[in-house]
Symmetry: C2
Subunit: 500 residues, 2 copies
């Protein structure tokens, strides 16, 4: 099933740009899908009644925008709006004295921005330390130090402290309906390391990786660093766009698909059960691996039956899912502990990748975490987190309904601590970010999360992970004022510019 490129030329503006813009729109609106071939140059030129050079220029512009791929001797194809950058060495001296928005977004994408003090911080998705179970952990640490002494500071097995792996097997079976074994469990120093290790085990330079678009920037940084070709697939409210995904699979033949099936970051969308099953079927059909990053599934507010993690639907005889679980958002980010469970056939590569990455995770933290899990307070802690964040979400929703009438079509997420807020059509997220920051309000502009050139400047992500309930409405009030001012200002500019 090929999709037809449709271009209508008018008398306004250069012809190559009209062609470029119309094809760009059809790619962004998924009228054209990855792998669709653009018409041959001469034929298209004849059809439109333009010079061949006009088509060449249009295709070149599309290529510069990373929207199409030219395959020598074959033709020009629609790509996945991916990021095909290659690594470059930066040997120039740094100049960090002045930081402009583009740099900031670049740094946020690389995850290394230092966000200054703000009155109200809707940008961070990290809970504040008043939520941490410090006392039970201090107890656990002292218990294991008294019990195991110096052993705590020996090298651990690279795959992790065995009793902890046993505890996690039990937890996975009882709470996530995931069957695994200690041999297929790898302890990791946080989910970020899990992604890095999985990428080392699975990817060689030039391999393709498909990601949800928008997605978590820390994962993109890993795949880029491995020299992978990255292509984004649009997210819908019930999970990734399956039609677009299958076209992208056929075109890119990916080695890996990276997904967050619950409360996806940044969209907060969760996958339907059907889509979860469909992903497993596709992974088996086209023989790729799925990295499932479960950073937040526990933080579900609804009591209704939610779908199980993707991993729970994996085919035991032909496993395709690497399930990574982080405790950074749920417990304490500074713990730097998590785990992954992988198909048996890649466990040895995973282990070697872990070893070359940092030999092993801290034995002290592993033992204390095991002690903590066995003490049985984990479930109670999660319940407290849920009740706290559900309250904040309710407050946030009420505030948005009052302060931004008509601006939000999306429903309130069923869990997590973020909201993917669509902006009025004439307001740019980058501008909102900048203007809000001046008034002490931090949010995250949509393009921070883009996988390639697909544009998310019409959304901001609001996180309430670290915003006290009493401050939410004040923050939304200021934000709504900022957006209104920008709307007025944009209107003014449009009105004034023809006269200037």
């Amino acid at each position: 099933m090929k999709h037809i490129v449709s271009v209508q030329l008018t008398k306004n503006g250069p012809k190559y740009l009209q062609i470029t813009e119309q094809i760009t729109r059809q790619i962004n609106e998924a009228v054209l899908l990855p792998g669709d071939k653009l018409p041959p140059i001469r034929k298209f030129a004849e059809q439109l009644g333009v010079n061949s050079a006009t088509i060449v220029k249009a295709y070149e512009t599309l290529q510069n925008r990373d929207l199409v791929l030219k395959i020598q001797g074959s033709g020009v194809y629609v790509g996945g709006s991916g990021n095909h950058d290659t690594n470059t060495h930066h040997d120039d001296d740094l100049n960090d004295d002045e930081l402009y928005l583009d740099d900031e977004i670049d740094l946020m994408q690389h995850g290394s921005i230092k966000i200054g003090k703000a009155a109200i911080n809707f940008a961070t998705s990290t809970p504040t330390s008043d939520m941490f179970p410090v006392a039970p952990f201090k107890k656990a640490i002292n218990e294991v130090l008294d019990r195991d002494g110096g052993k705590v500071f020996e090298y651990n097995e690279s795959n992790g402290y065995l009793p902890l792996r046993r505890s996690i097997c039990t937890l996975l079976r009882d709470s996530y309906t995931i069957e695994t074994s200690v041999e297929r469990l790898q302890i990791i120093s946080g989910a970020q390391q899990g992604i890095d290790i999985a990428a080392k085990a699975l990817l060689t330079p030039g391999d393709s990786v498909l990601v949800e678009d928008p997605t978590y920037t820390g994962a993109l940084a890993v795949f880029k660093s491995r020299g992978a070709r990255i292509a984004g697939v649009p997210m819908l409210s019930d999970g990734i766009d399956l039609v677009y995904l299958e076209k992208s699979i056929q075109f890119y033949r990916p080695r890996v698909l990276y997904v967050m099936s619950d409360f996806q970051n940044p969209t907060t969308y969760s996958y339907s059960e059907e889509k979860r099953k469909a992903l497993i079927t596709l992974a088996q059909k086209y023989t790729f691996y799925i990295i499932e990053d479960d950073y937040l599934s526990d933080l579900s507010f609804s009591n209704a039956d939610r779908p199980k993690p993707l991993k729970a639907y994996d085919n035991p005889l032909n496993q395709r899912v690497i399930y990574i679980k982080s405790f950074s958002k749920l417990l304490m980010p500074g713990l730097r502990i998590g785990f992954l469970t992988a198909p048996k056939r890649i466990c040895r590569d995973i282990l070697q990748a872990k070893h070359l990455t940092d030999i092993a995770s801290s034995g002290l933290i592993q033992r204390a975490f095991d002690d903590y899990l066995r003490s049985g307070v984990w479930k109670k802690h999660i319940q407290q987190m849920c009740s706290r964040y559900e309250k904040r979400h309710t407050t946030l929703a009420a505030s948005i309904r009052t302060r931004m009438p008509g601006s939000i079509q999306e429903s309130i997420p069923e869990g997590g601590f973020s909201l993917w807020l669509p902006l009025p059509s004439d307001v740019s997220a980058a501008q909102v970010y900048k203007a809000a920051a001046k008034r002490g309000i931090l949010c995250t502009p949509g393009n921070v999360f883009r996988a390639g050139k697909r544009d998310f400047d019409d959304h901001i992500r609001l996180s309430i992970a670290a915003v006290d309930e009493t401050l939410i409405d004040k923050g939304i009030q200021i934000l709504s004022e900022v957006i209104e001012e920008l709307q007025d200002h944009t209107g003014m500019e449009e009105f004034i510019s023809p006269l200037m």
Copy 2:
């Protein structure tokens, strides 16, 4: 200065093999150096009075041994006896039921072997937990938990806890004559992570990396995983072979040279001051980076003035050295803490690499380590380590002199806890490893540490990091018996085989 290939043909054996073997020997003995060109095929064939096909076959065999590189349209060149493997995916199911020597060495090279219980373990280079300062660390952990509460478990700055970076700056200035600043310090979760992060910041697939040969296998695994071309440069007793190194630099144009300037692993050799300075000069002349892995310089037995770390000789105006310091061997391996200091122009890339690797190192461990460093017991601890290991080294040396007369020409190392023991010429390290293991003695066969195809089957590494003083002589006694038996056995085989 080109080196001349010299081949003398006899009537014994196939001619291509004679040519292959003689050139192999000249490469291994460094008569031929990297970049030396082998004679053109037709000319060489005429000169030796053989068919061109014979030369082609010989060159192909050398290429299969990774000893030469064929450069299309130019000729055949001597390589650095490097490892030019590319990564491959292993999708086959694992079968770990039976483990043979080759597999074991392979696993040791990948660092993921599980060494079983042995009566006497000369293989591990990790101190036992009775040496660890557990009590002061437990105190430090509780102090920081009481002082900082939940803050301890928040995300840390990716470059590390600032007060710890300040402490380390002071330590570097006072004890290592290294001047740096908190901006150029990066806290890492152990030296292995330091190598991984430096490699991510510096290397793109296809870049060349030079290493000492033999070297630390954990570093090789990182460079391989980055898709680097690795070439080994022979070690001499006063440091790397500079002539060979410069030829290799000219031939490979490396991005990175990886060295351990003190008590190199596994040879235990340390660099002379002249060689340290020469490395800095070369790095500036040819614009590459040096990764200096200082895992053990503190463990020096002699009171005489030792050269400073390589980093202390770096040119402040054109820095070339990334200095990585581990505390795994000196303090406690399970801490997973260390640091690196890098030239300013690459600090941002290093920081981004750290962030994509695991976001940040454990805040709890960083704070406790800082507390420990400030308590002033660090120097006392190092003195205790030195005195303990010097005693063991003295015992080891006496035992070897008694039990293996004439077998060891090398002097006792001036520090560290290993010995690079040459074997009698007719005994293979792989055989010694196997036969000794059967009698409960573990050692490490030389080829575990090889960077490419250069052969170290004539050495074993003996470590006394975890061997109690009372067991050293017993271990050496058994080892000497094993070696003697193998000598007899080898002799027998040679005597018997013509009759069979």
